[in-house]
Symmetry: C2
Subunit: 163 residues, 2 copies
């Protein structure tokens, strides 16, 4: 079986696929509320398209996966970005892939550390939400609206994701 | 000085002002990802208006306030909803008010428990982000765009918020 080795999640490496949502020294930030709060501004763009499209906030409670993790499918949402931000202080797994003529290729796996969330760009191939170690609660920012906003690609020769 | 006594944050009491973002048995939920994840769907609506308006995700690191807390001003955002969800597992203070002819009245204070976030409806009067007890990191979902999206009301006779 082909293997994918997990990489650390950094804004630079993740840039082709989406935003990393985190408090970092590199982020544009400014003081608000008479200096009591520092705002790290515009870390992720929420985009939606299609009929009756609107951005929504949801939550998810995810059971953990355990390495090695089999990658058998990827999905994407043609009509909206999708952000996942853990409110449980723990790591989670982020799998993404580039697209070639409607088919994902070259999947990569990133390990998001505690304090990191991600936002997949609209129409970007990604794996299912993958908590690790513990049951993890996530904030989701994505789209509601008409139409089918999900494409699924079953991988004929599954990968094994290893740490 | 007039006092405001903090109330527990519940979806019912908060309904005139915004959404409570939490995993609750009452929320519409369904299984995703082959049953490994439960999605609590559409807990908060993100709305934006005005020229070049777009929803964005930011973060904030807030220094804590300590009771009794003086309420000297309220603000509102005419062109967008605004959500605050702590990623630090702790409580925080939420102050809101109704509007009468462009002026806030009858301010109320809610204590959000760990696991609760809130989304202020567009153009709803609210207090500044108020962490309690510890330095708290928040996810913010609000608006970027042109124009002045902030109205501030200084309170001539400040309130004291007590637990």
């Amino acid at each position: 079986m082909k293997t994918i080795t997990v990489e650390p999640l950094t804004a630079t490496e993740f840039a082709p696929y989406g935003n990393v949502i985190e408090i970092s020294k590199d982020a544009q930030s400014f003081a608000i509320n008479a200096g009591t709060t520092q705002r790290f501004h515009d870390l992720a763009h929420v985009t939606v398209s299609g009929k009756n499209a609107r951005p929504i906030i949801s939550m998810a409670r995810a059971q953990p996966f355990h390495f090695p993790i089999k990658l058998t499918m990827l999905e994407r949402h043609p009509d909206g970005s999708q952000a996942f931000i853990p409110v449980t202080p723990t790591r989670f797994l982020v799998v993404v892939a580039k697209d070639k003529n409607g088919t994902p290729f070259n999947p990569r796996a990133f390990l998001a550390g505690p304090g990191q969330g991600i936002n997949y760009f609209q129409n970007t191939w990604h794996g299912v939400l993958s908590a690790l170690d513990v049951v993890t609660d996530f904030i989701i920012v994505d789209r509601a609206g008409d139409g089918e906003n999900l494409q699924i690609h079953e991988i004929s020769e599954p990968y094994e994701i290893v740490l």
